[in-house]
Each structure stands twice: as structure tokens, then as C-alpha cells.
Symmetry: C2
Subunit: 69 residues, 2 copies
């Protein structure tokens, strides 16, 4: 169980559930498009401050993004 993979997978899952592109999510969360791309592909070990921005943009509770599905 790798937290970076679980998080990245969940971001992709909830982003697609909301019908958002990476670019739109990037805009909503105040981050960069390629940054979203990287973390969905497990290329980055993101810090908590940005985790919160993404959770807010996806309108999910933060801890939900860490639950393996």
C-alpha cells in the first residue's frame, strides 16, 4: 500500500467523476496542469498544503483521497 499511488489514483477517479480535465482541475486548485498530470501518474510526492487545495477543488473530504479503493 503506497500512499502516493493511492492518492494519485483517487485524484484521477474523482476528477473524472466530476467530468473535469486536468487543465480545469489545475485552474480550480490554483496549481499547474503538468503538476496534476505528474501526481496522477505517481511522479511527485506532493505536500499537504497542495493536497488540501486539490481536495477542495474536487469537493471531497481530504481523508477520502487516502482510502484505497
Amino acid at each position: 500500500m503506497d500512499i502516493i499511488r493511492v492518492f494519485g489514483s483517487n485524484v484521477r477517479y474523482y476528477r473524472e467523476q466530476k467530468g473535469l480535465s486536468q487543465e480545469k482541475l489545475a485552474e480550480m486548485s490554483g496549481l499547474h496542469r503538468t503538476y496534476i498530470s505528474d501526481l496522477e501518474r505517481f511522479q511527485r510526492s506532493i505536500s499537504l498544503s497542495n493536497v488540501q487545495k486539490i481536495a477542495d477543488a474536487l469537493e471531497v473530504e481530504t481523508h477520502v483521497l487516502f482510502i484505497e479503493k
Copy 2:
């Protein structure tokens, strides 16, 4: 609801539940003692790879550390 505060509070809670000192937890998680101190006082935005190390050391599931109590 601030993820850094929730996380820091939970680390302190579970650490004390296990009767560990900050220094002992630091050793067990492979991190630095001042770092544990800082994050319990909400002074740092920790990265995911270290969140996992701490969760492992505390023997709790990662997502539990993000649930507000």
C-alpha cells in the same frame, strides 16, 4: 478545517496513545526529532512520503491521520 492542523493533532494523539516520545517516534519513522516537534505544532507542511513513514511508525492507516476528531 485545516489539514495541517488535523494531521499534527492526530500525530500527537496517536504518539501519546502509544507512549512514545517525539524522539522515539522520529527514530522509528526515520525522520528528525525537530521535525516531529514542528509538525505537531503545525509549523510545517509535510510531504506524502513522510506522512506514510509516520503512519507506519504509529501503526495506523494513513487516512486516519486526516480525520478530524
